[in-house]
């Protein structure tokens, strides 16, 4: 051995006890054993090795041995035997024995591993030959078939044998599947089994086994997926339920990504704006919101994103397919980082009806407030303007009873009765006109051309307009006419223009400018003069009041602006004034 260039260590033992001890403590890689030893034989030694479970090659080195004995020992697991007169073969025999032993060990280990995998798997594993006979199967399959169908399967049994007995139709179904797999296509499917009240699901994988180009059999795997399947069904059912809840919800439910692109839009959300899914998905967020609400909505989304999970309340208008806007009220909530959502939830409901009834109520309220103001004003008129001439007449009547009243005074007093009676008559006439005006809301509308109106007024006030240096400039290019109540428009133009003439600056040529323009689909009329103007800080609230006069030195009743305002408001418009003392006045009417 030493001459063969092999490096090794060795231990020599010569009796049974030392040998047994050495097996455990020295742990040899190979055992070289003589046949005849003191107190025991090589047969005993081999038995000791097996008994100890030591798996190393055992080579018998002996002087003479019968061929029968040698064959017997080889059967018992001896790796080789060397005759003492042919010891030159020993190194080769040792090397061969070790190599062979190692290879055998590996194969054994491989098979043991495979068996362990098969046996410990929670998958039923079996293989079939081309005639659908079991080649191998694991205990799990065997036990399952025994347990479920009370069938014992053996290697070589046809796989359909027991199936034919149970359900021939089912059996043919399997035959089709196996045949298909034999043609070279792996098959994967989940099959439901009903055993009593139990439903179980198995996932099958049937794969061709190939040797070169030929399919020589099938390797089959069946895994119980009942738990997964039932859980899956449960999830699907629950998803269906939630989907149904969302899709049948009256409220709109939408989901947007961080750039506000639409991810989901519930049927009610689409229905609210009269759009189908695609149309809604193709509309940029900014185009779905009323321009006036856009800034606020974007701010609210930013606020929501700054504080994920926080519910932000919002109210605004969204655009309907037909171009109209719908008032909505809802919530925005950033759930971008929420695994199941990954979006910003924007839910809302249509509050247009509510808003309409609110605005209707507001209008009623403001109408009532207006009526109340009118009543208060009426009370004031009764208290002052109506009662003043009456008081005068009463006072003078008392005086006329006094016998000592001088004749000149008596004449003057009687003239007072006349003028007071006239004033009384005027006030009653005014009140009648005002009340008539307020009732005539339904007077029919016609197209009124502003230029014609100016012309009419010019002819009726020719005296005033012609005698002095007055320039009236008009520009109705942007809005030439409007559908309105002509008598009201005439009165509005007449009063404002004659006011400008009345309250002009005496030493400056009067310029009156009347213009029309369009703004937010409304007509805006401006009347601008360079007259006396008025101190709005002092008189602001009273400017449009009845019998309010601000230039006592100039003749007037204090009716003009009151009538203008009443008529503008009756037409559903508003009137505003800008003025500065000695800098002129500008009235703006929006209709």
């Amino acid at each position: 051995m030493k001459n063969s260039n092999l490096s090794f260590e060795w231990l020599w033992v010569s009796n049974k006890a030392d040998f047994t001890k050495a097996l455990v403590e020295y742990i040899p890689s190979i055992i070289l054993c003589d046949h005849s030893l003191p107190g025991f034989t090589s047969t005993d030694a081999l038995w000791i090795v097996k008994e100890a479970g030591v798996k190393v090659p055992f080579i018998l080195v002996t002087a003479t041995v019968s061929e029968e004995f040698a064959v017997m020992m080889m059967r018992e697991g001896v790796a080789d035997y060397i005759l003492k007169d042919r010891l030159q073969r020993l190194p080769t025999a040792v090397v061969n024995a070790l190599e062979k032993w190692e290879a055998m060990g590996e194969r054994e280990a491989g098979i043991a591993n495979l068996t362990a995998i098969m046996e410990n798997s929670d998958t039923q594993i079996y293989s079939l030959d081309r005639n659908f006979r079991y080649i191998t199967f694991n205990t799990f399959l065997k036990n399952t078939l025994k347990q479920v169908y009370d069938v014992d399967i053996h290697v070589g049994d046809r796989v359909f044998d027991f199936l034919d007995k149970l359900d021939s139709e089912e059996s043919r179904g399997w035959e089709d599947k196996y045949t298909q797999a034999l043609s070279g296509t792996p098959i994967h499917f989940v099959k439901e089994f009903k055993i009593g009240d139990h439903r179980t699901f198995s996932s099958f994988s049937i794969n061709p086994i190939r040797q070169g180009d030929r399919v020589i059999g099938l390797s089959c795997f069946a895994t119980n997926v009942t738990a997964e399947k039932l859980a899956d069904e449960k999830i699907k059912a629950s998803e269906l339920r939630f989907r149904a809840l969302i899709e049948n919800n009256y409220d709109a439910i939408t989901l947007r990504d961080e750039n506000l692109n639409l991810l989901y839009s519930s049927p009610s959300a689409n229905k609210m704006v009269g759009k189908c899914d695609d149309e809604e998905f193709n509309t940029p967020f900014n185009d779905t919101i009323h321009p006036d609400d856009l800034r606020l909505m974007n701010l609210l989304f930013t606020e929501a994103k700054a504080d994920p999970g926080k519910v932000i309340h919002c109210k605004g208008r969204i655009k309907h397919k037909d171009g109209s806007y719908i008032w909505i009220e809802g919530t925005i909530r950033d759930m971008l980082s929420h695994k199941g959502v990954n979006g910003i939830i924007f839910n809302y409901r249509n509050i247009s009806t509510q808003m309409e009834s609110d605005s209707h109520r507001e209008k009623i309220t403001s109408d009532i407030i207006q009526r109340n103001k009118d009543l208060e004003q009426f009370t004031y008129i009764v208290s002052h303007n109506l009662r003043a001439p009456v008081a005068n007449i009463l006072g003078i009547s008392n005086l006329l009873d006094i016998p000592t009243l001088k004749e000149t005074d008596r004449i003057e007093a009687i003239a007072g009765i006349t003028s007071s009676a006239r004033k009384l008559d005027d006030v009653i006439g005014d009140l009648n006109e005002i009340l008539k005006e307020k009732r005539n809301i339904t007077e029919y509308k016609q197209v009124v051309h502003f230029e014609e109106l100016i012309h009419d007024i010019h002819s009726s006030t020719a005296e005033m307009l012609d005698e002095t240096d007055i320039v009236v400039k008009t520009d109705f290019s942007e809005a030439e006419s409007m559908l309105t109540v002509k008598s009201y428009m005439h009165s509005i133009f007449y009063n404002l223009i004659t006011n400008s003439i009345k309250y002009r600056k005496p030493d400056v040529p009067l310029s009156i400018e009347v213009k029309s323009r369009l703004a937010n689909s409304k007509i805006v009329l401006s009347f601008i003069d360079n007259g006396l103007g008025i101190d709005l800080e002092l008189h602001g609230e009273k400017i449009f009041g009845l019998y309010k006069r601000f230039h006592p030195e100039i003749e007037g009743k204090g009716m003009g602006l009151f009538m203008v305002k009443t008529q503008v408001e009756t037409l559903g418009g508003t009137i505003d004034i800008k003025s500065k003392i000695n800098c002129g006045t500008e009235f703006t009417i929006i209709l």
């Binding site: 208290s383 008081a391 008392n398 006094i402 601000f550």
Partner: protein, 143 residues
């Protein structure tokens, strides 16, 4: 009619844009007080000017009765009272203001009495009875 004790009113000022009322006032006070000096103003601004120029010191106007209307164009009675309050104390104490209004609205009356410069609130037309009682309101004041 003249009574030495009660004949404390020295003169009258009437402020009302309605000249007929001013005439009634003038004739009525003359019936009660005889030939007593009076001034009528249809423009309250001119009345203020009159007080500024004619009441610098204690004069023969010691107890002037001012009958003031509320509802006037330009400057109304309330605005007149605001401007009046800015006059020198000496001027103010010579003038006894009565609101003479056609108003039967209690709010005007309450507002009148709330003003410290207003002595009384009268409803038009000015009656002889009222005129006779003028000095009673202030002649019994401790001062």
């Amino acid at each position: 009619m003249k009574d030495g004790q009660r004949c404390a009113v020295t003169d009258f000022v009437f402020v009302d844009d309605d000249s007929v009322n001013n005439l009634i006032c003038k004739l009525t006070v003359e019936i009660v007080w005889g030939e007593i000096p009076s001034e009528s103003f249809v423009n309250p601004v001119l009345a203020l000017d009159y007080f500024k120029t004619s009441y610098p010191t204690k004069s023969n106007h010691e107890h002037t009765v001012l009958l003031l209307d509320i509802n006037m164009p330009g400057m109304n009675g309330w605005e007149f009272l605001e401007a009046f309050d800015n006059l020198p104390a000496l001027t103010k104490e010579q003038i006894h203001i009565y609101i003479l209004s056609s108003s039967v609205d209690h709010r005007d009356k309450n507002r009148s009495y709330a003003n410290k410069n207003v002595t009384g609130f009268l409803i038009k037309p000015l009656s002889l009875e009222c005129v006779q009682k003028f000095s009673d309101d202030w002649a019994i004041k401790p001062d």
